[in-house]
Amino acid sequence: MSEIFALLIFPSGLFLLGLGMAYEWVDRKLLARFQNRIGPRWFQPLADNIKLLAKEEVVPDGVNRLLFIGLPVVALAGALTAALYVPAFGLPPAYSFPGDLIVTIYLLSLMTLCIGLAGANTISRFSLIGATRTLTQLFSYEAPFMLTMLGPAIVARTWQIGAINEFAGAGNWLLLTQPIGFIVALIGLMGKLEMPPFDAPEAETEIVAGALTEYSGRGLALFHLGKGVELVVGVTLIGAFYLGGIANPLEFLIKTGALMLFIVGVQALMARMRIEQTVGLWWRYGSLLVLAQLLLLLIWETIV
């Protein structure tokens, strides 16, 4: 009974969907304030999602019906499952086993993979270009993002998110010892969520809406909800690893809030990058810098 409660209502399920929408609102509101606008009302993501869920779902010609309807569900399920292993809202992870960090990283990239497949599934050319760009971006940020999650794991000598969180909570602010990893992780998260300046895969002014061009109604709502959940999981992971651990709800709100300020600041500051600039940024600078830092860490760990 308690497992069903944990899966469907708290801490995963409904609670996390609500939290995801709240963070989406924080993102949009802060961006609006940075742009000298008033911004959306607090219930805006909720209204958007209810409206989309109540809308007609058009299944276009030439698609695999099963994939078209199934992919949004898989994407949302992946994000929600990933949330079970992180200390969301400052509570200890609902489930935990040695090595759950690897599983969480894979579950987080499931979403992008689903968006890519969803775009490739339709015959619309905008969807296809969007899917190509989504997958290109996946291959560029995934390696540096994984490496940044590797750094804290090596220092804490465990693959368990809860244990790394406790290690960071014992006065180890990895932001100070691994600053490069922190920055690359944040930028990698922005790439994962296709936020500006890395929104080339869904650039409105060029390719309509990217891979999700043909989605209407329910599918679009599920992808939106999944992105909100992934945002929460991502900032929780980075906050727990680099900002001295997340032990209670207050710490969660403060640390993820600070991360949101940084993320939205970058969004407001920069214009969209072309896809080859994005790839270049991550492979030429992101990966190399993180690899150098990782090498130093390994040497340090073997000496000490």
Partner: protein, 176 residues
Amino acid sequence: MATSLLDSITAGLKTWARVNSPWAIHFNSGSCNGCDIEILATLTPRYDLERFGIKLQGSPRHADVLICTGPVTRQAHDRLLRIYEQMPEPKFVVAVGSCALSGGVFEGLYNVIGGIDQVLPVDAYVPGCPPRPEAIIDGVAKLLASLSNPGPKLSTPASGAPAESAPAAEVAEEVV
């Protein structure tokens, strides 16, 4: 009894969500671009439509409100219908500008069918040449208000199923 209560609650929730989150798509069916520039001005931070939940979408599949400017030319007629039919239900049409209302100065031209309501069922009319951004916001707000307390539908589309059933030439004669 219980089901009817549930129905009314879900219907109320749906209407609330629709009123508070109208995503728009903009189509120019032959306008002189005056109205389009005013629509773009409406979307700038100065008027900040995001406070009403209005977002400009690129894809017709994501949109609820089709904002049309200009008279319907024979060239744009098929494209307009195609965009309209790509939108998922429920969908609404707002005609912006004098030409979109009646054909304006282009009325009676050999290549112009007439106002938007000759081809699509229009839910809100915004007059002006071009209408100010405030007028466009007011038009959309009136459309949203009519969603929460529906009255008689104002517009009379050319036919229930637009497009081929009403040949363009006949429509044009009706206008004249």
